[in-house]
Amino acid sequence: MKSIDIIVDGQIYSATKGSLLIDLLIKNDLKVPYFCYHEALGADGNCRMCMVEIEGQKRPQIACDTLIKDNMIVKTKGEMIDGVHRDVLELELVNHPVDCPVCDQAGECKLQDFYMDYGLYDSKIDVAEKVKHEKHIDLGSSVMLDQERCVLCARCTRFTSNITKTHELGIIGRGDHARVSTMPGKKLDNPYAMNVVDLCPVGALTSKDFRFAQRVWFLTSTPSICQGCAKGCNIYVDHNKLKYKDEKIYRFRPRRNDEVNGHFICDEGRLSYKSLQEERQEFMEIDGREATLGEVLGRYDTLLKSSENIVILADANLYIEELEKIISYADSIGAKLYTPMESYVDEEFGDDWLRSSMRASNAKGVEMLSIADKIPDEKISLLIDFNHPDAKSIEAEHTISMRTHSDSGKSDIVLPLASYLQSSGKIINEDGIEQFSDRVLECSEPVATVSEWISILSRADIGGEV
């Protein structure tokens, strides 16, 4: 492809000949309003918002369907083009119910943003005169549809027809009566359905799971990596700390990474934030009773001294840095380290897109550090478990478990472990791509990360004060 120079708003940009003009505008953060265009779905040219002025053309053109040519001179602002934007926006808003106070999209809504940027006209139509459609329809797969708020950009229908190829959504009716709908009696039903919520530029498709939970402007977005499977999709974690309450995660959203997940994530990964916050192990326990750190360290020392064959189990979802810490910890106490991989395999979950049948996010990392897979059949006197799902079913005289979630498994000592969002490190996904995930939430005492527990326990090991 030939690289050429074009002029946009008096500035020279180099672009690939024959590529879409809107891609250049988006890439260079040049303000251009659009509803229907999406980098993953391509141009549709139905919303007419992305009009630009091109020298030599009689009328304004849509940037999303204009190919870059030699000697192109483009204007994205100016009195004429601003007027075009305002008029197109006014048309989009003709039948919009303007119910922003009850709409979950408020705050991240393209209609609101563009109205503030280009609109600011007085409405000529009374709310009572607007065409009425159905509101709050449960589409299935935790997606709510409000037909009145829709701008008919067809992003959602193109997602189901071009990307998931499940064809649940379509636009029916003509003119004022056009609306998004499923076939009668049919539901939106595919493992990636909730992506239409992110795709929808307005409040027509909203998440039933996030419905009314928070206003978006209260949320803080932190980039992270989903650990639902070995794919390692990039996500934003939206969290907020309410007054007098603990910090809470309200939703996961996909974060664009063309190498890994593109623009999307699966629904199971998206909703996995819930299990991260429920039934957490919050206390230190000895023999099923809550205990203090002093008691735990005392018991740990006796167990360690009286045990001969010590086995350590490490979860394959832990970060590389944490696994390395565990390896050197195992060396220091003369223990053998294993990570059985069999229980992580879930053939039903996997597909050929973003869902991997290997449910351990750092399986490749475990492989790279050559941690042994199978536990040999011999008597174990002390089992030290770092959150491995198999720990319950392994026979051992004594057990020390570090758990993120409380479970019924019997253990001499239970220590509360930080979840992956409360720790940071690198993971290697199934395609060998190494990704860094930063700490999103703080741990509240006595929950601690793997590294912290190892340093607490090791100090006790040499008889130091904690």
Binding site: D99, P101, V102, A106, H136, F212, L242
Partner: protein, 174 residues
């Protein structure tokens, strides 16, 4: 200098002002007038025997305790949009939203509480409300409780407060 700026001459520079004595004389004249009046007739004293006697000069603009308004059919006007909580400078409005199923609206608060101990009675919540659902026209200026929790006014209590200036229902949500 901009054309909207008006220069006002500074007062108090004249000889009469700088003597101070005429000003002191005027001040003392008023003080002694009140002293003589009050000694002569104790009923003319400009104080209230609170709480037996209640103030009568609370105006419409007075910011009293909050209330949540109703629609014409006596249901709640609030749609839990969080505008008041967003505007609140002391973060003392606690809202939890839920689905509303009576066909009036989609959303309503399942909890709407104001911590009046933290509230600074600035009235921003009233101004921010797009539904005219929260007002401070109750004329209530005192709140009594035995514990801190008593001062956190919950939704149903706020709905019970009445407006005292004739306008009972929300004007934005009918």
């Amino acid at each position: 200098m901009g054309k909207n700026i008006k220069v006002v001459p500074r007062h108090g520079r004249e000889f009469k002002d700088r003597l101070y004595l005429p000003a002191i004389y005027n001040g003392m004249k008023i003080t002694f007038k009140h002293l003589i009046d009050n000694v002569a007739d104790s009923n003319a004293v400009d104080t209230l025997e609170y709480p037996e006697e209640q103030p009568t000069d609370i105006t419409e603009r007075y910011r009293g305790l909050h209330r949540l308004t109703h629609r014409d059919d006596d249901t709640m006007a609030c749609v839990a949009c969080f505008m008041c909580a967003t505007a609140c400078p002391s973060n003392c409005i606690f809202i939890e939203a839920t689905e509303r199923n009576d066909g009036k609206d989609e959303k309503m608060p399942s909890r709407f509480a104001i911590d009046t101990l933290e509230c600074v009675f600035c009235g921003y919540c009233v101004e921010a409300c797009p539904c005219d659902a929260i007002r401070m026209d109750t004329g209530i200026f005192s709140l009594i409780g035995n514990s801190r929790e008593d001062f956190v006014l919950e939704r149903d209590q706020l709905l019970k407060h009445k407006g005292v200036f004739g306008e009972e229902n929300s004007r934005a949500r009918k």
